[in-house]
Every structure is written in structure tokens, then in C-alpha cells.
């Protein structure tokens, strides 16, 4: 591989990785409070992209459409929590998981019934599709914007989690909801806030995803959701910083497997998981994760 191609691949990796990272943050945040693998996260992301798509199709300016997309996701996310998760706060975690899968099926099929399964072309404004040329290396503007947004969101989320009382409450919730209530805190409201935030992040991820890969369909969230989940686990699920690291690692792995061994391109996804398993063998709780089920004797 010559230098140009290598640099290009590096950029490609960063681009894909930051996308995974962005989506993994929302994933891991919801996991952080509810200990729930929110399988519907990818679908909430899809909802965000679709709402934005509809708004632009209706002729609204892009910025407004994005806001509507985020709003749509937030509403769906919060409703999901209210309807499908809240009644099960004290039930076994696995029941929650099933309702999460149920919500996921529901959203996918609902959007399929409404919009059909044919991919829709997502149109983004020109300033988001610009491409810079650095010699022979091509640098799409999203490769610059998305990591910046990711890092900004990461710092924002970290600030909330570690510097505000709400963040403390969020971290405490993960371990002990009843006792959080005993502090005079409206735990359900905080969880709703987390869902709103997580869904907003999903929507932002979904919109950027749609800008980068302008084809959206009701099942677009499935594979990305799974990858983001893998990224979150790789980084140590529940750790926001870990999610970002995991996202980038996954992005680079995927790109370089294909780049270095084009014949093995078919194994790309296998490599991502293989790598994940390898890491977990040595660090059973991911890169930044703590053992949440650690039991003292």
C-alpha cells in the first residue's frame, strides 16, 4: 500500500469510527442507567433520519429538518421508555430486553408499512457534502465535522455525568433506583431525561449517517445498531469514553481488514467480532469497563 492509499484509508477509518462512536455513546448511556441493552436504539436512529428526510421532502430548510428529526427521535425514545420500559423497572432484565426487541420490530415494521422497504435518497445541503483534496487524498468534510461533533458531545456528556448533580444521579441510578428516590430525586424524570438525551444522540448519529451514506430505509439501524453495541462493549459497556474508543477501534479494524486483505473483505464483520472476542478474552469487561456484576463474598 502506498502512502497516499494508506493516508486515505486512515481517513476512511476515522470517518467510519467516529460514526460508530457517535452512535455508541447513546447506546452506552442508556445502558448506563438501566442496565438495558436497548436493541431499539438503532431504530430510534432510523426514526431520526426518517423524520429529517420527511421534513426536507416537505421543503423545510435543512437545519429546521434536523431539529425536527431530533425532536421526533426524542419523542419516540421517551414514549418507548414510558410504554415499554417503565412498567418493567422491577421486572427481570431479560423481560425488558424482549420488550426492547419488540419495540425494535414494531418501529421497523411500522416504517415499512408506512414508507415501504425501498431505500430513500437522503439529500443533504452542499456544505455537508463538500470534499477537500489534499494532493491525491480526498477528505470529505464530514470526516472533519463528525469527529468534532463526537468529541464535543463526549465532553458534554462527561461534563454532565461527572460535574453536575444530575450526572451523579444518573450514575447512581445504574446501581440503585430505590435509594436514589430516597434522596428526594424523581428517578423516573431523570430516566426520561436520559432517554431523551440518548435518543437525541441517536438522531444526531442517524442524521450524520444519512448525510454520509445518503440512503435510508426502515432497517438501516439494525446493522449499525449492532456495530455500535459491539463498539460499546469493546470499550466497556456503560463507559462513555470507552464507547468512543471502541467505536474508533471498530472503524479502523473494518477499514484496514478490507484495505490490507481485499480477498478477505467478506470476513470484514467476522473480523470486527473476532477482534472484540479477543479483547474480551484478555479484558473480560472491555477496555474501560468495570465489572458491574462483581460480587463481594
Amino acid at each position: 500500500m502506498d502512502l497516499t492509499t494508506f493516508l486515505q484509508q486512515l481517513i476512511n477509518g476515522a470517518s467510519l469510527g467516529s460514526m460508530y462512536a457517535l452512535i455508541a455513546i447513546g447506546y452506552t448511556m442508556v445502558y448506563g442507567v438501566l442496565r438495558l441493552i436497548n436493541f431499539a436504539h438503532g431504530d430510534i436512529m432510523m426514526v431520526g433520519a426518517f423524520f429529517t428526510f420527511m421534513a426536507t421532502a416537505a421543503g423545510l430548510p435543512f437545519t429546521l429538518a434536523v431539529l425536527l428529526g431530533i425532536l421526533g427521535s426524542v419523542i419516540v425514545g421517551v414514549l418507548t421508555d414510558k410504554i415499554a420500559y417503565k412498567p418493567l423497572r422491577e421486572a427481570p432484565k431479560i423481560s425488558l430486553l424482549i420488550t426492547a426487541i419488540g419495540i425494535s420490530f414494531f418501529l421497523e415494521n411500522l416504517f415499512n408499512v408506512i414508507f415501504g422497504g425501498v431505500p430513500k435518497a437522503f439529500s443533504a445541503p452542499d456544505y455537508l457534502t463538500k470534499i477537500f483534496h489534499l494532493g491525491d487524498v480526498y477528505l470529505p468534510i464530514t470526516v472533519i465535522i463528525i469527529p468534532i461533533v463526537t468529541v464535543a458531545i463526549l465532553s458534554g456528556v462527561l461534563w454532565v455525568l461527572y460535574r453536575t448533580k444530575y450526572g451523579m444521579a444518573i450514575r447512581a441510578l445504574a446501581f440503585d433506583i430505590p435509594t436514589v428516590k430516597l434522596m428526594g430525586i424523581d428517578a423516573d424524570r431523570i430516566i426520561t431525561l436520559v432517554f431523551a438525551l440518548g435518543s437525541a444522540l441517536a438522531a444526531v448519529g442517524g442524521i450524520f449517517y444519512a448525510v454520509s451514506y445518503p440512503s435510508i430505509d426502515p432497517l438501516m439501524g439494525v446493522i449499525v445498531g449492532l456495530k455500535a453495541f459491539a463498539a460499546a462493549v469493546l470499550g466497556g459497556i456503560g463507559s462513555v469514553t470507552g464507547a468512543v474508543i471502541g467505536g474508533f477501534i471498530l472503524g479502523f479494524t473494518e477499514i484496514f481488514v478490507v484495505a490490507l486483505f481485499p480477498e478477505l473483505g467478506g470476513y470484514k464483520d467476522a473480523f470486527a467480532f473476532f477482534f472484540l472476542i479477543l479483547v474480551l478474552l484478555f479484558r473480560p469487561t472491555g477496555i474501560m469497563g468495570e465489572d458491574l456484576e462483581r460480587s463481594r463474598f
Partner: protein, 349 residues
């Protein structure tokens, strides 16, 4: 009885098929004896288990005379043995894997098979002076894998050189790694054998990276979304297909295209056209049985007529069925021009 993937991962194909089928049905659903044809459409979620069950349901619950479907060869292959066992004619409009009809007495298809299409792609490329190619194969799709093989065989046989095969997976959206690899190879042509969702994104990413090499694909890319999603980048994308509405010269085809425009207000796609032809062939077979004084529900007769279809004038051209149950028909080569699918030429078998 019709079995299509109306939900699930390949819902898009099922839904476009149904679009064409509905037009054809609205145009004509009366047999010569005055009976109305009844269509029962079942969804199989793109799942084999459900596809096979759906056929049995059609046979037992709806007393179906003929089974139409599926899109994906894998699913058609799950259905074929059921139809075969029940001695019920089955026609698939879009399953191009040769094995679907292989050794089956009751299974017919309305489309050409992968080896033919691959050869057409290769021939066209060679005829236009392209000597080196990179093949893009979708490892997840039997369609793409088979097509790639046929293309490579014909291309090398004709004196061309395959520089590299890059693999993608359907459902992927990021092809930058593959595109960067292709770029370093400098091929004359990129033979893309997958489906349109990936084709659109890949060509877009390729053009974004400054690759000017032309793409050639097959019927899997011939969907309006190629242009909608690919935008300007899709310009010049060539592909082989069953049908192009611009090449529609026969009155049947014109009528279909007109009805399609009226109902959906968009250009007619080939998946729907194929479904319409499959339906038309069934109708024609039933009518022939009536002519012979047999019941249109006489499965043996209908199958016999289907298998011996000769010179059927369909939307996608003239269809002849060979002894294996495969359609022998011409392919068209289209090119994306100004956001439309421009007709280039017709290649006869």
C-alpha cells in the same frame, strides 16, 4: 397464488414486484371463459421457512392453480420442491439462479439466468475496448456471487484481465476501503455485480474519491433509487437489464408503461415488469387450456403450456421457455444519463 417478501430485509424487491403485478392484474384479470382470476398474495418476510409454508397455505387453503414467486433464488428454491411435489406449476419472475428450475418439471421462470447476464456484461465491456476490470462481489448474495463468476469467465475468455476482486456485504454503507483499493488498481472498468443500494453508495463514494472509471452492473442495480441516491455520481453507470421503458416498442409494453405511469407516477422498473410478464404468461397458459377445452385450473395443462411458452410477447420482450424451464430472451443495456435510464442497446441470446 403469489409469494413475495413484502417485509423484512429484501422487502424492497417484493414491494416493487407487487407494484408491477398489480398493474398487470388491473389490466387484465378475465380469462377467455369469462372467469375472474383471483390473486392471493402472501408475505414471507424474506424467510425460507415462511416461503415454504406460504406455498402450502396457498395449495391447501386457497386451492391455488399456479404459484408465482419468489424474488430471491434461495426462497424460490425453498418453494420449488413443495410445488413440484404437489404437481403444481410455479413460475418465478426474478430468481436468476440456474438451480431454481434445475431438474424440476413444474418450475418455470420469466427471466434469464445469471450466466447469460454475466456474459452479456463481459461482452459489452470487451466490445467497448475495456481490457482490465475489477470485480465487486457482494459476498452475501448468491446472485452476485454467481454473476461475478460468469462475468469473470466470459471476460477472461474474451481476452480481458481481472485485476482484483473486492468483496462487499449487502447492508454495508461504507465502501471507502474498497474504493481506495480499486483506485490503486486503475482498471478500465468496474464490474459491479451486487444490488442497487450498495451500487448507489459505492459509485458515489468512488466518484467522491476521484475515480472516473466506468461501472457496469446487472439487473440488480436497475432501480430508480440508483439515481436518486447516487445522484450525479451515478451518471454513466451501465447495466444489463430485462427491460427499459424507452426500449418498450411492443404495444403490450407500451400499455403497461402507460398504466404504470398513471398509477405510480414514476418510471416503470424491471422487477415489476417481470412480475407482470410472469402473470401474463400464466394467463396465456390458462387461456390456451381453455382453447383446448380444458379447465383453466387444470394444473397439468397449465404447466404444460407454461413450459412450452413460445414467442410470448411480454413487457420485457419476447419470451421463449427452453426445455429446462428457463426463459430465453434478450437483454438490454442501459446507461444512466441525466438521471434517467437511457437505453443503449439490446443483446440477443
Amino acid at each position: 397464488g403469489v409469494v413475495l417478501p413484502l417485509t423484512g430485509p429484501i422487502a424492497a424487491f417484493g414491494q416493487t414486484s407487487k407494484g408491477g403485478l398489480d398493474i398487470a392484474y388491473e389490466q387484465n384479470h378475465k380469462l377467455k371463459n369469462g372467469d375472474n382470476v383471483k390473486l392471493v398474495v402472501l408475505d414471507d418476510r424474506g424467510d425460507k421457512v415462511e416461503a415454504a409454508t406460504a406455498v402450502k397455505r396457498l395449495l391447501n387453503k386457497n386451492n391455488a392453480t399456479v404459484i408465482l414467486g419468489e424474488v430471491a433464488s434461495g426462497n424460490s428454491m425453498a418453494m420449488a420442491p413443495v410445488a413440484e411435489k404437489a404437481k403444481t406449476p410455479m413460475i418465478t419472475h426474478a430468481s436468476t439462479n440456474p438451480r431454481v428450475t434445475k431438474g424440476k418439471k413444474y418450475v418455470t421462470r420469466a427471466c434469464f439466468i445469471d450466466p447469460f447476464q454475466g456474459a452479456v456484461m463481459a461482452k459489452y465491456a470487451l466490445d467497448n475496448g475495456m481490457k482490465t476490470a475489477v470485480v465487486v462481489t457482494d459476498a452475501k448474495q448468491d446472485y452476485s456471487v454467481g454473476l461475478s463468476k460468469a462475468f469473470k469467465k466470459a471476460f477472461t475468455a474474451g481476452g480481458g484481465k481481472i485485476l482484483k476482486t473486492v468483496l462487499i456485504n449487502s447492508g454495508d454503507k461504507d465502501f471507502n476501503a474498497q474504493v481506495s483499493t480499486i483506485k490503486s488498481q486503475h482498471p478500465d472498468i468496474i464490474a459491479f455485480t451486487g444490488y442497487y443500494p450498495e451500487a448507489a453508495l459505492m459509485v458515489k463514494q468512488a466518484r467522491a474519491m476521484g475515480i472516473k472509471t466506468p461501472f457496469i452492473g446487472a439487473d440488480g442495480v436497475g432501480f430508480p433509487e440508483l439515481v436518486k441516491i447516487g445522484g450525479k455520481a451515478a451518471e454513466g453507470f451501465m447495466y444489463t437489464d430485462h427491460f427499459n421503458e424507452a426500449a418498450a416498442s411492443s404495444p403490450e409494453a407500451k400499455a403497461y408503461v402507460e398504466a404504470f405511469h398513471k398509477k405510480y407516477n414514476k418510471p416503470a422498473d424491471s422487477m415489476g415488469a417481470l412480475a407482470a410478464d410472469a402473470y401474463g404468461m400464466i394467463l396465456s397458459a390458462m387461456n390456451q387450456c381453455i382453447d383446448e377445452g380444458k379447465a383453466p385450473t387444470d394444473k397439468e395443462c397449465v404447466n404444460d403450456k407454461l413450459r412450452n411458452t413460445k414467442g410470448y410477447k411480454g413487457v420485457t420482450g419476447v419470451i421463449n421457455i427452453d426445455k429446462d424451464g428457463n426463459a430465453v430472451k434478450s437483454a438490454v443495456i442501459n446507461e444512466v444519463k441525466d438521471g434517467k435510464f437511457a437505453y443503449k442497446t439490446t443483446v440477443n441470446p
